[in-house]
Subunit: 161 residues, 2 copies
DNA sequence: CCAATAAAAGACATAAAAGTCTTTTATTGG
DNA sequence: CCAATAAAAGACTTTTATGTCTTTTATTGG
């Protein structure tokens, strides 16, 4: 295979993840904001973008949306930025996914039938349903505020160099 | 909320599934072809599109691709169509996903870090890894040929009216 | 009040996914 | 051989996701 062909081969494998880019950036940003908020610090978009390795303007749009929906708080002007009130830092990753992409991930049919149905199930319904519920539980159990300690200790990361 | 607002509310919930449309159509089509192949019948694109409620030209493209990759067999001309050789009907859903979208779904980081890593894990690495493995096992255990009986008995469905 | 700051809002641009159509090639039965 | 058939190939369009830039609005400290 030629070198160019090899590159195509590699890029062919850069697709299809569970979450959209928007959701990925949103979760990383929210976890970062939560960490700073615990110290009473508000953070600006530039800092968030750097810390989470996300496109600056894009993460701005996403947070603007989450802000309208009340999942994150913000303040304009000098000393302004994004932060989380006590209640918001208890929000789950599932809440973020729902706010951005709705319930489809948690209720939709794995093979794309118009809806998931117990009565007229698709061939993988039972197995898929279980996985879907596992995903939901994982995201519902994960609260935005709970990641700070491990991040501080550098046991987990929001970006990779 | 206005009626228009309500419509937007509804449409906001039509996004973000685990599989791409391409993968969904591919799996439905492959299961259908397998069912017919057991009876020694080759099926054309029009019939596949109808039976699986997929866009005709699009499923054509998808099967063309899978055919090049050897996951499905085809024959041109009258009495031609798509069919599965014995070996192909033992192929797993994981094989189909891999052929179309690569390994990202099975190996990628849930929060979109450049790669998933045990050494520098993202905050949800452990939980996500488990879910990811469950998805892989579900798809690897499901063989294309094994769905025919339930489809015949109308216990499962490839389309919903 | 004012200048600086930072998010909100809205318009715009690009890339990728999804879907369609037309032409070509292979196969078949007569 | 020939006409009909059906997939392969390739070009194309549309839609959605992703990403960028510019202008407006709110807030602050001096
Ligand atoms: S019907 Fe397909 S997952 Fe339930
Ligand atoms: S590092 Fe994110 S899932 Fe492994």
């Amino acid at each position: 295979m030629s070198f160019i062909g090899f590159l195509f081969f590699i890029f062919a494998f850069v697709k299809e993840m569970i979450f959209s880019k928007t959701v990925e950036y949103a979760i990383r940003a929210m976890i970062f904001i939560a960490q700073k908020s615990k110290k009473g610090i508000k953070v600006g978009i530039k800092e968030i973008a750097k810390a989470t390795d996300a496109p600056e303007y894009f993460i701005g749009k996403i947070l603007q949306d989450l802000s309208r929906k009340g999942l994150v708080q913000s303040l304009k002007g000098p000393t302004g930025g994004f932060y989380l009130e006590e209640e918001s830092s208890n929000c789950s990753l599932a809440d973020i996914v729902k706010a951005i992409d709705g319930n489809k991930l948690f209720t939709g049919c794995g093979l794309g039938l118009k809806s998931c149905s117990e009565i007229k199930p698709c061939p993988i319904h039972n197995e898929f349903k279980k996985v879907r519920e596992d995903i939901y539980n994982m995201l519902e159990d994960a609260r935005i505020g709970e990641f700070s300690k491990k991040l501080e200790k550098k046991l987990t990361f929001l970006r990779r160099k």
